[in-house]
Symmetry: C2
Subunit: 448 residues, 2 copies
């Protein structure tokens, strides 16, 4: 009966999701030619103020979804970042069934008045001003293990979830570092020895470590202005929607990865390309026998006292998007930050060896990183899919497009997590009013 | 940049989801012409045994998802029922951020050996045999507030979620009964006075109560064999995927409901039509100012000690599917059953007035129900979107296609919750080995 249900043919279809997938893989880029000033400010673009998706039904002009909305366009993205599961298929990262472990609080009302000078600027800005300047949706600051600052606005509240974007990469990297530290994965092994299907691709003769640190040489373009850019083939493959009948391209992340050609030599230069994270996701699933979501839940999420489940977007065969698919609660990413700061311990339990955090915090190849020319990250590096600043606080971070961060500052004993929905998808535009602000808070807390 | 991303035109597209939406609205029907014996048995169709969706990637022939799979066909549905969120957009029913309240246990190993005679049969079957006979994925029995029996197999485990199918209707009905009992909604009011957009539809001059009890007179056919049946227009409207460029039909549940024409008189006869539940979802959202998912979370799910979040599928404008969209954990539906059994109290807190449960348990119009001719439910009725058996135990139930139930037996102080993935989408086929089994367990527990 149902088995006989005829398929429905659509002659033409605007695929919203493909835009979203593209946006999700949009990556931290060096320089921004678009300035935030070209867009309505944080208050004017607040999705509640705009009335986006409010009402039963929402008025047509207030809909973020169908009939043909690009839901990652600004200001719609300010609603979308908290509602990704309502727009596409997703896979759960279970917190398990136990009781959450609540944070201790020691709120510090002096933080809002902290001032800093933006990179390239000449007049000071307060911390509080920086929140709106960066279209911040949520901000959590922890010092010595206690919450000293917590802020929600726009689409987010304490029980909500927000897209982590490319911070997902750091979660995939963390899981990989754990498997390496436990001896379950050899970082020096060629990828082809673990995933034979990648033998003839660019990844085949790269080492696992080169993938982890994104020093692979890959012929892969993310130039969104070029309709023939690789990102479009990748997006079509990754799109969870059914493929058109005449579709001949790769299906899902795994098939796409097999098509990637080599360009240059592995190990020479840092090249921030999301497909490295997806290859890493395949590697750790093959090694562990678990999906990235299940592995993440079993090793981390279900053991850290999480308050909420997280989730990943998936491709059409159920593969979690290891390069950008995570959505989660603000506090739960605070728990991830604390785990890193405490080198694998949380709530009195050790979840992974200390060397995992030490290895990430120690950073990667600075010379290779330098070749990529990140103006707001001079002297930095990338290790295990985390960004390492090599500043005098030993700070490192997960970073995601539109302003997401988990910022770990060991010297200040500080973890800072930000969710945001900045109109510009370039960290080069967001960093000038973010990184010096984080440093100023760290200095302030260091004196406490 | 992203804003300029061109839409992608697909010339033809097999829309898996439309089949799924159709299946989700498949309803409890009277008689089954298809017998379970036409399909592989429970062990042979276990999705783990079959290796469905296992491996990275799953082999093509083991995929439930793309490229063109009908994921609600048997035996694929035995995987799908636990993974609906991985196939389509969904909206969360939040459990909140507090600690779950665990059940007390008093497991009774005598239950497996209980025997009963199937309806229309002549030889006894054991309780344990009935589990496989009904393709049971999960079974929870509570007696005097304690768990006496708990069972998981196939795709389900204690931390998993399963499609509740049309049991969703009973959740929508429960919320409505609460609003009525609280005086926030007049059950005698015509629907048009609450949702003016429905004025010219069949629902316009129906009372809220007629919608709640499905005694509306609606020109609406769910004959899946008829390509012109209303169910197809409904499914196309409800489908969360972007509509084809030349699509002229209604978008989403709300627009569809406005097109439904009247047939016969309201109040005359029970007619089990899913669109009543969707109309009710609209009514309670309009009255409360909240989506069905948010209302459900605020009034029930976040206050009953739930272990897991639940979720609903949504249409293309984010409307939760009030007629069939819920997925949830087995134990959490046990909490719903306990709430009903205890007339609104759980964990020492009152969530709704006792009259809500009394009203449902008291049943609806038996004469109107009798006209529908349900052979396995003689003398029954339907009230507030719950099925009332009018047996000497005062039992009533939420019921969903493929064998789902929350069975509340006040006399035996018993709640029974079953998730299953029976190959036949007709309760008339499943009831003969289910309803007498529940009654036998109730009799057994009554003697304890």
């Amino acid at each position: 009966m149902k088995q006989g249900v005829a398929s429905v043919k659509f002659e033409a279809l605007k695929v919203l999701q493909i835009n979203a997938m593209a946006a999700l893989v949009l990556t931290a880029m060096t320089n921004g030619s678009i300035a935030a000033g070209d867009f309505p400010d944080a208050a004017a673009s607040d999705p509640n103020t705009l009335g986006l998706m409010q009402g039963f039904p929402p008025p047509t002009e207030k809909r973020v979804m169908q009939p043909d909305s690009n839901f990652f366009s600004f200001p719609k993205l300010r609603w979308t970042v908290c509602h990704i599961r309502e727009l596409m298929p997703t896979k759960q990262v279970s917190r398990g069934l136990g009781a959450p472990v609540a944070f201790d609080y020691a709120l510090d009302d002096g933080i809002d008045a902290i001032t800093f000078t933006p990179i390239g600027g000449n007049k000071p800005m307060t911390w509080k001003e920086s929140l709106a300047a960066n279209y911040t949706d949520g901000m959590l600051i922890m010092h010595k293990g206690k919450v000293v600052y917590e802020y929600y606005t726009g689409c987010l509240n304490e029980a909500g979830k927000h897209g982590a974007m490319s911070m997902t990469k750091s979660m995939t990297g963390l899981l990989t570092e754990i498997l390496v530290a436990e001896g379950k994965l050899d970082e020096k092994a060629p990828v082809s020895s673990i995933v034979p299907e990648l033998k003839d691709s660019a990844f085949g003769d790269a080492t696992v470590r080169q993938v982890m640190d994104m020093t692979t040489g890959l012929a892969y373009s993310e130039d969104y202005a070029d309709p023939k850019a690789d990102i479009w083939v990748y997006s079509a493959a990754a799109n969870p929607l059914p493929k058109p009948a005449d579709y001949k391209g790769p299906v899902g992340y795994y098939e796409y990865l097999q098509t990637v050609k080599k360009e240059g030599e592995h190990g020479d230069a840092f090249g921030y390309k999301t497909i490295n994270s997806d290859a890493l996701g395949w590697i750790i699933s093959r090694v562990s026998g678990k999906s990235v979501t299940d592995l993440f839940s079993e090793r981390i999420w279900s053991r850290m006292g999480a308050e909420q489940d997280g989730y990943f977007t998936v491709d059409g065969i159920g593969t979690p998007f290891a390069g950008g698919g995570l959505s989660a609660g603000l506090r739960d990413l605070g728990r991830i930050g604390q785990l890193m700061l405490n080198k694998g311990e949380i709530n009195g339990e050790r979840l992974f060896p200390a060397e995992v955090a030490d290895n990430i915090a120690g950073g990667g190849d600075k010379a290779a990183f330098g070749k990529a020319g990140y103006k707001t990250l001079p002297g930095g590096s990338y290790r295990g899919m985390w960004w390492v600043f090599h500043n005098d606080h030993g700070a490192y971070a997960a970073r995601g497009v539109h302003g997401q961060t988990i910022y770990v500052d060991p010297k200040a004993d500080m973890v800072l997590v930000r969710f945001s929905s900045h109109p510009v998808a370039k960290n080069g535009v967001i960093d000038p009013t973010s990184l010096p602000a984080y440093e100023a808070v760290a200095e302030y807390l260091l004196g406490k």
